[in-house]
């Protein structure tokens, strides 16, 4: 009996691992947006080197692209998928742009992008909270 329960939990676990819930996907998106924000902040303060900062922003961009395309394949019912899509696309754009601005060493423009990324982070947080509260 115990073994059976154990197996059921394991199988459920495998299933859960393969398809993260929308709430978990939103958490991942927020985690990577926050990573990009932290790297951006670090670069502006000369705390992180150029190459690392650029590569990590690119990594954030790729990961965000991956998670959001998975998320939008089966968008959560509780939110307007059009507005979710638009904020995710916009924030990804900021991250990609920031990676390019490091190469151009354009700190003022980089700072502006970072600010709008922070604004987008807040919107994503609100959307995410509304998903979690309805579950």
């Amino acid at each position: 009996m115990r073994l059976k329960g154990f197996l059921v939990i394991s199988v459920l676990g495998i299933a859960a691992c393969k398809s993260p819930t929308p709430a978990e996907q939103m958490d991942s998106i927020q985690s990577w947006l926050a990573t990009a924000e932290m790297v951006g902040d670090g670069w502006l303060r000369h705390s992180t080197p150029d190459k690392y900062s650029r590569q990590t922003l690119e990594l954030s961009h790729e990961t965000l692209l991956q998670i959001s395309s998975d998320l939008l394949k089966a968008p959560p019912h509780s939110v307007d998928s059009a507005s979710l899509d638009s904020v995710l696309t916009r924030s990804r754009g900021e991250v990609a742009q920031m990676a390019r601005l490091i190469e151009a060493k354009d700190a003022p423009e980089f700072g502006r992008r970072l600010d709008s990324l922070r604004a987008d982070q807040k919107v994503v947080k609100q959307l995410s909270d509304s998903i979690e509260s309805r579950q």
Partner: protein, 404 residues
């Protein structure tokens, strides 16, 4: 005086063996996802490790035999063979993770991807083993490993809520993300109670020619060294709880963990993190390669010593040469070292009983230990550790699937 200097064995064992990619990753994950809540796991792991390391040192000092020699002698070849398969497979994965950790540190410093570093890094580790002596590895790694004190500096500079941290030392049950919470807890214990540490430490005691007079100092070294390692891991967890937790960053990649020290130490934090990881992983890579070679050599009765020239202990050197070469292969193909780390920490937990159960018997054997046999305190603690190890072994794989 020489005995005081021997404390370096404890320091290198803890910095190289305790603080390495596994403990840093798991501690950073724990802090980022659960704040101070998992500090108890590091405390528990450290206490278990202090006892196990003290015993492996005592066994070596009194009997002039390492844990592996005594295990083969006492339990025979078939048992030794089973432990060999389990322990060496897991230790090999940990070695891959450590070499990868060196590669990742170099990647964030230079921008050159870690697969490119696989061959040069493995070669460097091999050269150090080939040409170096035991004391060079021991003292070099512990000196370089002192950079990791920067984790403590960062923790203090961020003014943590010490009361909240103290609360984390008491186990608590999470309201949500249960599977992940227990998975990270098990990984922390797997990262702390690494069997290769005991094999390395007891071989080190033989390399340093300990005898019965070292029994008291061994106690000091084990307690002091392992506490230092646990303390550093706790510092990593506390910094991660302050830096990543409020931002909702979940550590999945090394690039994320690299930001650990920058808020506290804006100017040097990034380089301190990279060099700390570089040295800690290098120390661990040397230690694990040696531990694997010791395991084979001692179990089969070959000549072994890091202080002999390679032609005097050919099979021993041949073993670590092959192991290091093989460990570079997955990295060349770009296998993510962090994923290897997470899998190997859970597998370490799964194989713990193999490493610890023989201990309970060896440490009570008058043939090996005479009057220095375990007292009831040590026996109770080992029995508890054995119990914990069985629980970990049973739950680690399902948790890996659910929480990882």
């Amino acid at each position: 005086m020489k005995k005081v200097l021997q404390i370096t064995l404890g320091i290198v064992t803890s910095v190289g063996g305790f603080l390495e990619i596994g403990s840093v990753t798991t501690a950073a994950q724990a802090g980022a996802s659960f704040g101070y809540k998992l500090l108890w796991a590091i405390l528990l792991g450290t206490i278990c490790l202090i006892f196990l390391v003290e015993m492996s040192g005592r066994l070596a000092a009194v009997s002039k035999h390492t844990v592996v020699e005594a295990m083969r002698g006492r339990f025979g070849f078939p048992f030794f063979f089973v432990v060999l398969i389990g322990i060496v497979l897991v230790a090999f994965l940990v070695l891959v993770a450590e070499l990868g950790g060196i590669g990742l540190s170099l990647q964030i410093l230079t921008g050159i991807g870690f697969p490119w570093w696989a061959v040069p890094v493995s070669f460097a580790v091999w050269i150090l083993m080939w040409k170096g002596t035991f004391s060079l590895i021991e003292n070099g790694a512990s000196m370089l490993g002192l950079v990791t004190i920067s984790f403590v500096v960062a923790a203090v500079k961020l003014h943590p809520d010490w009361g909240g941290a103290a609360h984390g030392l008491v186990p608590s049950f999470p309201a949500d993300q249960k599977a992940k919470y227990w998975f990270v807890a098990v990984s922390i214990l797997g990262a702390s109670i690494s069997p290769y540490l005991m094999y390395f430490y007891s071989s080190g005691a033989i390399e340093d020619e300990w005898d019965e007079t070292y029994v008291p100092i061994n106690r000091v070294i084990a307690t002091f060294g392992m506490s230092l390692g646990g303390f550093l891991s706790m510092a990593v967890l506390i910094v991660a709880a302050l830096v990543f937790h409020p931002k909702g960053i979940d550590i999945q990649k090394f690039e994320q963990a690299s930001l650990l020290l920058t808020p506290a130490l804006p100017k040097w934090g990034f380089f301190l993190f990279a060099t700390s990881m570089l040295f800690a992983c290098l120390g661990a890579a040397l230690e694990i390669s040696l531990a694997i070679a010791y395991f084979f050599a001692q179990g089969f009765g070959w000549n072994w010593s890091e202080d002999l020239t390679p032609s005097r202990d050919a099979r021993f050197c041949f073993t670590y040469t092959i192991i290091i070469m093989l460990a570079a292969v997955p990295l060349l193909f770009g296998v993510d070292p962090i994923k290897v780390t997470i899998i190997s920490m859970a597998l370490t937990s799964a194989t713990l009983p193999l490493a610890i159960v023989p201990f309970l018997f060896l440490m009570n054997d008058p043939i090996y230990l005479g009057e220095h046999r375990n007292g009831w305190v040590s026996n109770t603690v080992v029995a508890i550790i054995v119990l914990i190890s069985f629980v970990l072994a049973v739950i680690s794989i399902p948790l890996e699937i659910m929480g990882g």
